[in-house]
Symmetry: C2
Subunit: 531 residues, 2 copies
């Protein structure tokens, strides 16, 4: 058995002062005395405030030269030991085999666009790849294609293929006679632009210099992602989709595809998505990004030559997991159980729920590109199908069309280090003002006054599409009220073909991740809607 790192540190720190230390046998506390109350005026630094300790130490020093003993044993930190060992192992691997990891979920198809794409916030990808996989057969008039959109960190591998027999993330939902019926439909799933599973993202090479984009990658939006997917459809010669289907971030994209290309899609499925992000989900993604960016190994995005920020990624995923899975199910599965009740409590993972989160974070920490997490999660924050937002984007795109034209004419791309690209915090700190005024119904959602007019106007392109909207009552990340918002907004556009289902807590206790798990209720409804 080796001495724990914590104990070593403690011992080292203690040894600095060992000359002034003695064994505890001379402790003053041997003389029990009554307590007393005194007034502290302006707490002074400890070394001047408690001279009796210095005195006591001096006295004891003369008495004994025994090694220092603290009143209680030092804590050990196996979770930090594990992280340090992982860093060392990754460092060794990186020296042996060059800078890795390369993120992959296996064999897939790639659509390469040599045409540049202008992004909503003015960025440009001179060319880009879209990784994708397909299941079923495209019919002769190419009218049976379903575009399946993924969640944040998923690859195109929704189902096993001949080229990659590993089970996909929606394995049970796709196949002959399944909700996405491959006897009838041609299913396409892509890795989003900004991702790392074969599509162009921050870990890709910037063609301007052959170096990784890293944080020179431009800001992305959901609309940019579906715009890139439309290019893939062009490439496949598919004019109009039978349906656009997605859950979570894929639900956002499914709606976005319909709003931006209403003539290119027949019907829409949005599961546990939203029409616009809301502050709680932005806040939770914010904390994930900040934690990742705090990891010194993140190095402002330029970590590809070294050890990746695995610790920051792990913790970001732990936070994400809370938003994906917490719910009544956790009460039942974990409750207040500790992983090993025979051991004393620890600051490292201790309760069963903690070891579960630790494991979920650990598993993910090297599976996904940290910069992709930042860019794609940011794109989710920016999502808003409101009309004003769409108009502002249109205006910005028009302004920036020149960049694209200039690029395709052989001109310059925008100069590097454009100061307008660094958002600096307002110099004045956020001032909290407590208002007890009633909620602004125009802003708040789910109010009695119906969906906001701006959102109704923004989603009007979907007024004639059959739309299936599904939500889960135990979902805290894309809460059920956001699904109601989608459905009510669509109904307010005049759409009479909206189907809205909410899975109550008695049906699913799995929170946001229900869409990955509940073949019967989620899958069943999707299958019936597509029939």
């Amino acid at each position: 058995m080796t001495v724990s790192r914590g104990a070593q540190i403690a011992a080292r720190l203690l040894s600095r002062g060992s000359k002034t230390l003695a064994s505890n046998t001379s402790l003053a506390v041997r003389r029990p005395v009554k307590g007393h109350v005194h007034q502290i005026r302006n707490a002074a630094p400890l070394h001047t405030r408690e001279p009796q300790h210095a005195q006591a130490r001096a006295v004891r020093d003369e008495e004994s030269d025994e090694p220092p003993v603290s009143t209680n044993p030092a804590m050990s930190f196996p979770c930090l030991d594990a992280s340090e060992q992982k860093t060392a192992a990754l460092l060794g691997r990186s020296h042996a085999s060059g800078p890795e990891p390369s993120y992959t979920t296996g064999n897939h198809m790639v659509f390469h666009s040599s045409d540049p794409i202008l992004l909503d916030w003015g960025g440009i990808l001179p060319s880009f790849d879209i990784a994708h996989e397909t299941w079923g057969t495209l019919n002769a008039d190419k009218s049976n294609a379903i575009l399946l959109h993924t969640g944040l960190s998923a690859s195109s591998h929704a189902h096993s293929t001949e080229a990659n027999p590993k089970p996909g993330w929606w394995e049970k939902f796709i196949g002959p006679g399944k909700p996405l019926d491959t006897e009838r439909f041609f299913i396409i799933c892509t890795n989003v632009v900004g991702g790392c599973y074969g599509s162009t993202g921050p870990s890709s090479l910037d063609p301007s210099d052959g170096q990784r984009y890293a944080t020179r990658f431009p800001i992305l939006t959901m609309d940019d992602m579906v715009r890139a997917q439309a290019r893939l459809l062009d490439g496949l010669g598919i004019e109009k989709l039978y349906a656009s289907v997605g859950a979570s971030m894929g639900g956002m994209q499914s709606l976005a595809f319909g709003v931006h290309f209403p003539e290119r899609v027949g019907r829409i499925v949005s599961i546990s998505g939203c029409a616009r992000s809301h502050p709680y989900s932005i806040a939770m993604r914010h904390t994930q990004r900040q934690v990742l960016m705090m990891d010194p190994k993140w190095n402002r995005g330029f970590y590809y030559d070294g050890v990746p920020p695995h610790h920051g990624m792990k913790l970001a995923r732990e936070i994400a997991t809370v938003t994906y899975r917490s719910g009544p199910e956790w009460e039942n599965r974990f409750g207040r159980q500790r992983a090993d009740a025979s051991k004393p409590p620890a600051l490292c993972p201790d309760f069963l729920i903690e070891t579960y989160l630790d494991h979920a974070g650990e598993k993910f920490s090297l599976e996904y590109d940290p910069n992709s997490l930042l860019y794609v999660s940011k794109a989710m924050d920016l999502f808003d199908l409101g009309f004003a937002h769409q108009e502002a984007t249109r205006a910005r795109r028009q302004q920036n069309e020149g960049k694209l034209a200039s690029l395709t004419r052989g001109g310059d791309v925008p100069a590097q280090g454009d100061p307008s690209c660094s958002l600096t915090l307002p110099t004045k700190n956020y001032e909290e003002t407590i208002s007890t005024a009633p909620m602004d119904e125009a802003v708040s959602s789910g109010g009695m006054s119906g969906p906001p007019a701006d959102l109704v106007r923004g989603m009007a392109p979907l007024r004639n599409h059959p739309v299936l909207v599904m939500g889960v009552a135990s979902d805290i990340l894309f809460p059920a009220w956001q699904q109601r918002e989608i459905a009510e907004t669509l109904q307010a556009t005049g759409n009479e073909k909206v189907r809205h289902f909410e899975l109550g807590e008695e049906v699913s206790a799995f929170g946001h991740d229900t869409f990955l798990l509940d073949l019967e209720n989620i899958g069943g409804e999707v299958g019936r809607f597509l029939r």
Copy 2:
């Protein structure tokens, strides 16, 4: 204007490869070509997979020696710049004035117990301090005292005093004619053991060697905290409290005081507390602890001689703030507003909700001792008023009584580095099993089958006390169902003096922090109950 750090890093990284770089004017993308689809088989490392780039670079290298230009400008990271500047400033300050900060909220009273205290998990404090403040006058028979328990990070400064005129954290709730009426009651508020505002905690000196406890501080429980408070009451000569009052962690303590000292308290108020922790709140506190412990400056708790882990503390507080304040109010106050809509989006704080969290974290980052956060939040996780848990604790305390006896006889304290104190993770990873079986009603709360029998038995000591239980529907950290659990459990003990109020979302949209803000509803009910 200085060049941003991000741009500098990017430039440095780019310059490494500048020999192979050229201006973008020779980009291949000038020739628009149709996209194409190809199959990737086993994605190889990028440098072997994309030889065309290496070729292109070589060609361009001969053409031009211009400085490298990336397709899009590099991002800048003002939030990381600010953190680095803060570290530098703290380092300068620490060199100038010695290791600080010392945490204080100003003048207060201190009760010093020279008697050791045995803690629930076997730790020992050979002596300890309890910082406290009081308002009102203790009557002749000492029957009008109310013990006010605090939330996690609060000091004893609940209200301004002559010695410290700064407004306290419950300023409006305490005073003549206020809910805690100083005309009638003698209000006592303490800083909990484990805290850093004058009570003994990890930043205190271990009397065995005169060094800071740091993570040699023993694991604490809520019961330990109220046990220490009982010592203070002994010191003040108060046999029986008129009432025990608290919100959040203070709600836990208020109940714990009643359960463990039923004869020493007349009535109980628990606001947004709980009878036992639940997995979501443990998970959220877990992520806060892990983020803090990930900060290299935390140094396994031994940071007192250097720069404290301000960045980890800041992010931990941001996560905490989400749990304290998210709710319908955020929709109204922040919605999807960006801090400065004229700027492009950024990975540093950008949306108004992000700058709010950033500010909340920043404000707290040096205000509270990081080790106190770890120990006190851990104590909250461990809270459980169930009978089985109480019995196990009693048995453990009996086993450990020997330590205390030995210490007071002048014997040894437990040996340092006791291996039983390092919880190691189970060697087998947590295996996820998806069960769609119905919830176990004995474990789940709020079920139709009533409160769990073990909890009813554990809270039986309160069967005759008038108890006020208040909850807030928009609270996600101590959700309303936990308040119902307290009330129903007490009723199941046979208690007929339970008053339970739940503030609906139409009354308060402020989530968990409602207890700090809502004088009318929270304060009003407390005042009426104490009358």
